[in-house]
Amino acid sequence: MLSQEEKEWINQHRSVGGRVKRDFTIKTDVSGDFDPEKLRSVFFKSIPVVAVILMLSGVAAWLYLRYTPPLYESSSLLKLDVKKESNIFGFGGFDAYGDPGANLAGELELIQSNVIYDQVIKKPELRVSYFYQGKILSEEKYKSSPFDIQITDLSNNLFDKNISLKLAADSSFVLSYPSPEGKELSLKGKSGDHIETQELKARLTVTNHFKDGQVPGTFYFRVNSNSALLNYLASSLQAIVINPNARTIRVSFHDFNRFKAKDIVDAIDSVYLLETVNSKNLAADQTIEFLNYQLSITDDSLMIAEERIEKFIRENKQVKSERGLENTIDQISSLESEKFALRTDLQSLDTFKKSLASNEPGVDFIPDISYVSNSSLQKFIEEYNQQKSKYSRISVSRKENTMAMQNIKRRMESLEKNLVRLIDKEIQSFQRKINSIDQRVAQYEQELRNLPQKEAEYTRLKRHSDLYEKFYLLMMDRKAQYGINKSGTIPDFRVLSQAAIPDYPVSPRRGLVYGGAMAGGFALSLMFLVISYLLSNKITSQNEVERLISAPVLGSVPQYVKGKMEFSKLVIGENPKSQISEAFRSIRTNMDFIIQKKSGKLISVTSTISGEGKTFVAVNLGGIIALTDQKVVILDLDLRKPKLHLAFETPNDSGMSNLLIGKAKLDSCIHKSPIKGLDFITAGPIPPNPAELMLNENFDKILKDLSKQYDVVIVDTPPVGIVADAVMLMKKADLPIYVLRSGFSKKEFCKNINRIKQTFALDHLTVVLNASGPIRRYGYGNSRSFGYGYYEDEKKSFLQKFFGS
């Protein structure tokens, strides 16, 4: 009966107990071409998951917004002036050369340096931070705290620690803080009380933000240490160049309290302004100091000279000089004054040169050397001063070995070298000038020597006195000039826009957070969709079955939705016009088209594994055939797991197993179904050797007898994937039907079906797709139900359809 090849196949697949190995384990076929139908089904199945993902991301965004304190930013816009300062100062405008933005970087450094911060943290309101303790978030009560604490003494370990304070409506409070031993210490008090403990000496008073009768709740405060404040400023302050050509700088500060953010920006602006003015005045101050020193020396010399003249006049009563003599004296006197000025300058140059040569880092600004004739030296001095100022500013906030510092240092060193060289030259030229003056003075003195001695003596004295006087006046003049200049110093920047109290937080931005969450949700959903599409190895549509299986598809049966079906049952009789009846009717028609035999047709119904609906198909197909006035009998040959009796709700006392061992009569085993012309035989008691029973010759005899009585015999076989018996039944059948269930059967089953068809030459093998949802009715959502009686479909609401009710 079976060919050699077929026997081999059975033997291969039969293991102990007649079970075959499942050789269609996981072989996921993802390389298959794109299937829009499948995508659609995956999509509709994913809708709840996608909805949940989107909802969760929305909730996450909401929670994030709810529990993230809003961060405010206040900012001001500063514009640095381009104008060059008057050259009367020892150093000129900063932007003497180089690009206009170069110094902006330096300004940014200054703004963000401890030079500024040190001044800002002196503000008293920054010293103590007050917070209101909310359920989840705490809120800083900047300048609006209902209480105020004046600390007179605080132990070091309480700095930067949260000290909690429960304030009652009657302005009494309970203060608690961790003791150094780690225990929690509590103090009770009333507004105005002095607190005095080992760690803390303070006085607590309520402010006008405290409202009587209102329970203020729990607060805490923190006494900020300098380092904490500096860190706080450094971490939240930002200064950036907005437009290098316009030389504008934006100073911004982030804080959870918008008033505080504004105050700090204001403070920084004003400290920066002061600092700029001070640093400018520093150079002027040093010049004035130098002038004062020179003045005091000159003053002394002048006094001595005048005393001498006085003494001379006292001794000689009166002095008369000749006109020519006067002239000569005047000449000498002016030459001497010139020489003195040169000497002074020479001296200051020399001092400066020495200090440069000593290479001390603390070289001060080079004072006024405006008398220097050499213009390149002038330039170098300007630049040197400029670098110097930069260096001193940056050195406050930067370490010695940073790149910026190194650069400035290198530049300064080369400048110093050049300066020394130029100063040397200058000194030489000064020396030459002095020499020439000396020569000319010697000439005049020669002339004087010819004068009478007394006259000569007077002239000499007078000359000295005049000299000192002239120089003294010159010095005074210069000093006055510097004084005027200093008092007229203005900052070289303007505040274009003042810091304002921000109305909206910079973060979190509601729109951005929600948008981001939605985008994330969509991305996740898409990922989920792609993954579930790729991983979906289930059959979903008739198209897919047609593509994967070489056997013809008789038709699809929609899913039964009218209530839950525990067991396969006969539903044809319930509603002759239902979708399911309709589907079976068309399967009957198509079946009839394939089987040429007019009577005694044998149809086998099988599936790969149980649960795919073979009993359901067998029973209902039998029913729909019986309705065309044909006699139909259904046999349950799934002797291991019988189901047919459940479908017809009859006891399984005796049936096929009894018949196969010849212990019962055929007629006694045949049951009538509710549908006229539809009979069935249940499986009977489960035998120990079902496979052998099936090979029993009784079976052929039973089939023969039945085909005489009935037009159609339908056998419900065991699943072919598990037991090989089914294959023999399929060989016998005029029409072997293979059932696949949409969304349940795996794609690999199709390969198995193709192999069985080929191996056993099952030319008539056909396929029925069970539980195929109305996937094509995408317009109506993902309802897997058709509803009932589509001829007269009751109009269903979308929701009803959605929930398949």
Binding site: Q579, D592, G779
Partner: protein, 249 residues
């Protein structure tokens, strides 16, 4: 709202638009108790009055003939028809009723055709048949061929409603080329059956592939739906411009 002057210029324009596009309807289930249409003679008359109010003068009603459930023979249908006719004349209604049948294509129908049993056709030997909604019958092409051989003109009932044609219009074109006439259900235009059916109906109208229109009236709810459908100006207007064969009957 239409402008006032138009209303005065063309009398009862609104009424006219709510009229049935043809005066002869060819697909309905008006005969009582032999299928899932009218169950009693009273129901039949109600439906007839309803159709009449829409401007229909004549209906060629088409009871289901189905191998398993509605085993209606020409005799049963004729007997039923004469009863309805009697009632119409008794009530003195201005309505003509004739009967053919809506044959469900299954092996039974095919057998009847091959055996040469009497099949109820209408007009110029038009034969109205329907298909399974779920699965395409394998013997469809053979059946059409056989119908032509026997001298029938096949008319496919509501081609827009079959699921296996949705989004596969080439199959409909193939049928059209095979000489099948198409009968559109008017209610499909308003999406009464499904969105897909509506889309298909619109496609058929756009392609001018509609030969007949029918009400497929089973019960009063179809009449109510028809009233709404007739108000759908866009595709109803397009439909009115088509050359429909209903008037030739």
């Amino acid at each position: 709202m239409r402008p006032f002057f138009r209303k005065s210029a063309f009398k009862s324009v609104d009424e006219q638009t709510l009229q049935y596009p043809v005066s002869i309807d060819l697909h309905s289930h008006l005969l009582p108790g032999i299928d899932d249409g009218a169950q009693t003679i009273e129901e039949s008359i109600t439906l007839i009055k309803g159709l009449s109010s829409l401007g229909i003068k004549k209906a060629i009603t088409s009871p289901h003939v189905m191998h398993d459930f509605y085993k209606n023979t020409p005799d049963i249908i004729r007997k039923c028809l004469s009863a309805v006719r009697k009632e119409i004349s008794k009530q003195n209604l201005d309505f003509t009723i004739e009967a053919s049948a809506e044959y469900y294509l299954d092996e039974g129908l095919y057998e009847m055709l091959m055996k040469g049993e009497e099949l109820l056709s209408f007009g110029d030997r038009y034969l109205l048949f329907e298909l399974s909604f779920m699965n395409e019958p394998g013997l469809l092409k053979d059946f059409i061929f056989q119908l032509h051989l026997k001298g029938f003109k096949p008319v496919l009932a509501h081609p827009e409603r079959y699921m296996f044609f949705h989004r596969r219009v080439e199959k409909l074109e193939e049928l059209k080329n095979a000489g099948v006439f198409f009968q559109l259900n008017l209610n499909s235009i308003s999406g009464y059956y499904s969105v897909e059916a509506r889309k298909m109906a619109e496609w058929l109208i756009d392609q001018q592939m509609v030969d007949f229109v029918g009400s497929d009236c089973h019960a009063e709810k179809h009449l109510i739906a028809l009233q709404e459908t007739l108000g759908r100006s866009k595709y109803m207007d397009k439909l009115r411009k088509l050359k429909l064969l209903n008037s030739s009957l």
